[in-house]
């Protein structure tokens, strides 16, 4: 099945019916996912500056409200609207699979994430052309495939190839029939700009580098310990729980956190288990490339290149992979 690119806005109108539809576009000069306003979404060019994770895992999410007094009242907050995420690329689709593994599949099911995820329909689109710092192919992905998406729009040219990967996607496609025609679509030609030497073997060997202080000192020295990499990362899922009270009423909420921050590893009593940038950045890199693999069977880096684009100190995870590969294979 294929879909004429001209008909895209009609499909978007269908998707937006009774639902919140998110598409890539500019918000105050920053490319990110925003509510569809009837304009043609910005599917071409560089990927969004901010990842789509905010839609499923909000920066700040209310958990419950409370009222104290002679008896404490607690009321649940359920905020999971029907949503469509349209136009995400292979890398970002895979990042959602990583978060699914964390919040739904492995161990405890996080009801906040699970509810939002269940009510979201994801339509991924073939990558139109990689950004300057992309390397998803090295992370085992194909820029023209998104097996985890409900619906995938593949290929290049005048048409999109249309495939439904899930039941939810198939049901949705039934509404699209008048715009769909038979025919093949050539494979998309986008390829990554970078090809760091990532491999499953390297992932296994990386933890062996843990105690190589000189190596980590050299790698981490320019780091400023800001949270930019974590906040633009599509897979960083750490959060912090806090309250906000006025008088005897308040709300408990959770918000994004970053392992680069000094209070991230602050223990009660004041001890900090990762006091310096060496330990913090080491943890970040190893979590992305090794630890996550041990538990979830995949890397937590999807090769989108956002952290490379935005790092104030020009640190580069792709360069790190090559450097680590060199040391590991010596």
């Amino acid at each position: 099945m294929r879909l004429k690119k001209e008909d895209l806005n009609k499909i978007l109108a269908l998707l937006a019916k009774n639902r919140e539809l998110f598409v890539p576009g500019q918000v105050r000069g920053i490319k990110q996912f925003k509510l569809w306003d009837g304009e043609t979404p910005e599917l071409d060019g560089e990927n969004t500056v901010l990842p789509p994770k905010d839609i499923l895992f909000p920066k700040t999410e209310k958990m419950y409200a409370y009222k104290t007094g002679t008896e404490t009242e607690i009321s649940e907050i359920v905020d999971a609207p029907e949503r469509v995420i349209f136009g995400i690329r292979a890398c970002d689709m895979h990042s959602i699979e990583c978060m699914d593994s964390v919040f739904i599949r492995e161990g405890y099911e996080d009801s906040f994430y699970a509810r939002r995820r269940a009510k979201s329909l994801i339509v991924a689109v073939a990558c139109p052309g990689a950004g300057v710092n992309c390397f998803c192919e090295s992370m085992g992905l194909d820029p023209d495939a998104a097996p985890g998406a409900d619906i995938f729009l593949s290929g290049g040219g005048e048409f999109y190839g249309v495939t439904a990967n899930t039941e939810k996607g198939e049901t949705e496609l039934k509404k699209w029939t008048q715009y769909l025609t038979d025919g093949d679509v050539p494979k998309g030609e986008a390829h990554c700009s970078l090809a760091p030497a990532m491999s499953p073997e390297l992932s296994e060997k990386l933890t062996g580098l843990f105690d190589d202080d000189e190596f980590w000192q050299e790698v981490t020295e320019p780091c400023l310990q800001c949270g930019t990499c974590s906040f633009v990362c599509p897979t960083c899922y750490c959060f912090d729980i806090n309250q906000s009270s006025v008088g005897d009423e308040g709300v408990a909420f959770r918000c994004w956190d970053s392992c680069m921050f000094s209070d991230y590893n602050q223990n009660a009593g004041g001890h900090n288990t990762r006091p310096t940038k060496k330990q913090r950045l080491r943890n970040r890199y190893l979590h992305k490339l090794a630890y996550f693999n041990e538990r979830h069977g995949m890397e937590l880096c999807v090769g989108c290149g956002r952290c490379i684009n935005k790092c104030p100190a020009h640190l580069d995870i792709a360069e790190f992979i090559d450097k680590a590969a060199e040391v590991c294979h010596d």
Binding site: V27, R28, G29, I30, V49, L50, K59, T60, V132, N133, E218, E221, P222, L224, Q225, C226, G227, T228, S230, F231, V232, D240, N242, S244, F253, C255, W256, S258, F261, S262, D263, K277, K310, P312, A313, H314, L315, D316, A318, E319
Partner: protein, 278 residues
């Protein structure tokens, strides 16, 4: 520029070979074109890794605070702005002059918009100067952008900051790169005191933005690093710029980081200061 680079290689190598310094902070090429990153050279044979070109945008001075009690001296490549940052930290008692060896680099400006408004292209303090002094420029208005914004109405300004602070993701890159942000523990990290809510929204972002601006505003050396590092392109320098401009208007000609022994404008007073309070 290449003259400076070769002089830099020679001097860095010599300093490390003689054991005069423990390491040299400068810049080295990063992967990809037109990109450098801060470099920390510890071995004489690595001295050639250092580069000096117009892509050397990162401030080097802040890294002195990452090593407050060095084993030996630290040699640091410093442009005009970096030396102002060093002066800032010396004035604030954050680093010791005897721990630093400054390799001064005259700089005609790098790939950063802020360099067009730079009044100190030559290092203000150094142990040795590499290359010939650069030509200083004065054909600009330090507060041009602040003045543009002042021409807006109150409501327009309110809306503009509302939009900007909605964009902010509070990654704290502006704080971490700033040489004037040198508190041992930032108020924003003391979350138990409740000064800074952890929520990500325009209100909390503004509390952070304004508090930071006020904390550093009268000590700002105008290096523009906060704006360069901001992943969301917030015009952070407008806030500190407005404060500096007001300090200039109220307390006379005022510029920071010009000496290693200066008191911030709001850390001192004059009996005859302007007073409109009554």
């Amino acid at each position: 520029m290449s003259d400076i680079q070769s002089a830099l290689h020679k001097r860095a190598r010599a300093l490390l070979e003689n054991g005069d310094v423990e390491y040299v902070i400068g810049w080295e090429n990063a992967r990809g074109e037109n990109k450098t990153r801060p470099a920390f050279i510890r071995r004489a044979e690595d001295a050639e890794r250092l580069v000096w070109n117009r892509w050397c945008v990162n401030s080097t001075a802040k890294y002195l605070l990452h090593d407050r009690w060095p084993k030996g001296k630290i040699a640091i490549c410093a442009r005009g702005c970096d030396t102002r940052a060093i002066n800032r930290m010396l004035s604030d008692g954050q680093v010791k002059r005897e721990n630093i060896y400054i390799l001064g680099i005259p700089c005609a400006g790098v790939e950063n918009q802020i360099c067009r408004r730079c009044a100190h292209r030559n290092p203000l303090v150094y142990d040795e100067l590499l290359g010939e002094p650069a030509e200083e420029k004065t054909d600009f208005d330090r507060f041009e952008k602040v003045k543009e914004m002042q021409a807006m109405t109150l409501e327009q300004r309110r809306q503009m900051w509302e939009d900007e602070f909605t964009k902010c993701i509070r990654c704290y890159a502006c704080r971490n790169v700033c040489p004037a942000c040198n508190c041992r523990e930032c108020y924003a990290d003391q979350y138990r005191t409740g000064w800074q809510g952890k929520q990500f929204n325009a209100v909390e972002n503004r509390v952070y933005g304004l508090t930071r601006a006020y904390h550093v505003g009268d000590r700002c050396i105008e290096c523009g690093e906060c704006e360069r590092v901001c992943p969301m392109d917030l015009p952070i320098m407008l806030q500190t710029g407005r404060m500096l401009m007001e300090c200039n208007e109220l307390f006379g000609q005022y510029e920071c980081g010009l000496s290693d022994d200066e008191t911030p404008a709001l850390g001192t007073y004059n009996l005859n200061d302007a007073d409109s309070f009554g």
